[in-house]
């Protein structure tokens, strides 16, 4: 059993490594364009709301705490506590997505969505209009893929919750809870980096 547990954990880490490379490519490309067009980048920062970003970071960190406590409960064989913590994790995960949706709506109202045929207007600083499109594309792809991972994560938690309700876990067998927890924490880590890179940089020097 111990060996099975270790193999499953290792397998999850290997999967997370592929995820690191997936997000890493986007982080790298984003950094290069930010270096190429620093003024255009600074001009976009006024449309990012760092308070929303900070709130979402806090919400995700709480969800990571409830997830970690859920895994702890699973290890101790406390089934009721595990189910309760899974529900909390899902609630905070959904809260994150709701806040994100409000943000996307704000970008839509601001005409800052250069996707789907272009809901785009940058007449405030027309000299940066084209470069700012690149940066908003990065913003939507990075946060969009992250949000997709959150949706998948909530789906996994739902599955684990029903598995727990059917009494599939015990003190001796909780591997699915453990590896789902690893995934959830990984998605949290991605956001820990997205938050400063997308919301905080250039926040002190807002230029249009």
């Amino acid at each position: 059993m111990a060996q099975q547990f270790d193999s499953a954990t290792l397998g999850m880490w290997v999967f997370l490594l592929t995820e690191i490379m997936f997000f890493g490519g986007m982080f790298g490309a984003y950094t290069v364009y930010r270096g190429l067009y620093p003024e255009a980048f600074a001009s976009t920062s006024q449309y990012m709301n760092p308070l929303f970003g900070a709130m979402n970071t806090a919400v995700l960190i709480v969800s990571s705490l409830t997830m970690a406590l859920g895994v702890r409960a699973a290890r101790l064989g406390e089934q009721k506590a595990l189910q309760l913590f899974l529900i909390f994790t899902m609630i905070f995960g959904l809260a994150f997505l709701v806040i994100k949706a409000f943000e996307y709506h704000e970008h839509w109202v601001d005409m800052k969505v250069p996707l789907f045929g272009g809901h785009w207007d940058y007449s405030e600083a027309p000299q940066f209009a084209r470069q700012a499109q690149i940066l908003f594309c990065f913003y939507f792809f990075m946060t969009g893929f992250h949000a997709l991972h959150m949706v998948v994560g909530v789906g996994i938690m739902t599955t684990i919750f029903f598995m727990a309700r059917r009494g599939m876990f015990s003190k001796d067998y909780f591997t699915p809870v453990e590896v789902s927890g690893l995934y959830w924490h990984f998605v949290d880590i991605v956001w820990i980096f997205l938050f400063p890179l997308l919301y905080l940089i250039g926040n002190a020097r807002k230029l249009v």
Partner: protein, 99 residues
């Protein structure tokens, strides 16, 4: 199989993570020039380490898992390192200085 960390440990880590989140939020409002991004990323790395070592409980995992986790970061550094070395060493970039 594994030692189980106490609730107290988890809550302490959560409190530090939340504190660092708001610290980085407020520090970002002060104009520190180039240092803004350095400090923001240092805080992010610190938060990531806390999540990996405590929430993901990497310190209790097998040596092989630890090796794989370290390997992931090694490849990531290779990827981003080579990426940036390429761009930094081009003196014809439109933005002039990359950083």
């Amino acid at each position: 199989m594994h030692s189980v960390p106490s609730v107290r440990t988890y809550v302490t880590i959560w409190a530090i993570l939340t504190f660092m989140t708001f610290a980085t939020y407020y520090i970002a409002q002060i104009d520190l020039g180039q240092w803004n991004i350095v400090i923001a990323l240092l805080i992010a790395f610190f938060k990531m380490s806390l999540v990996i070592f405590f929430f993901m409980n990497l310190k209790a995992e097998s040596p092989l898992t630890k090796l794989f986790a370290a390997g992931g970061f090694f490849w990531m550094i290779l990827l981003l390192g080579q990426f940036f070395v390429d761009y930094i060493s081009r003196d014809w970039m439109p933005g002039g200085k990359m950083w």
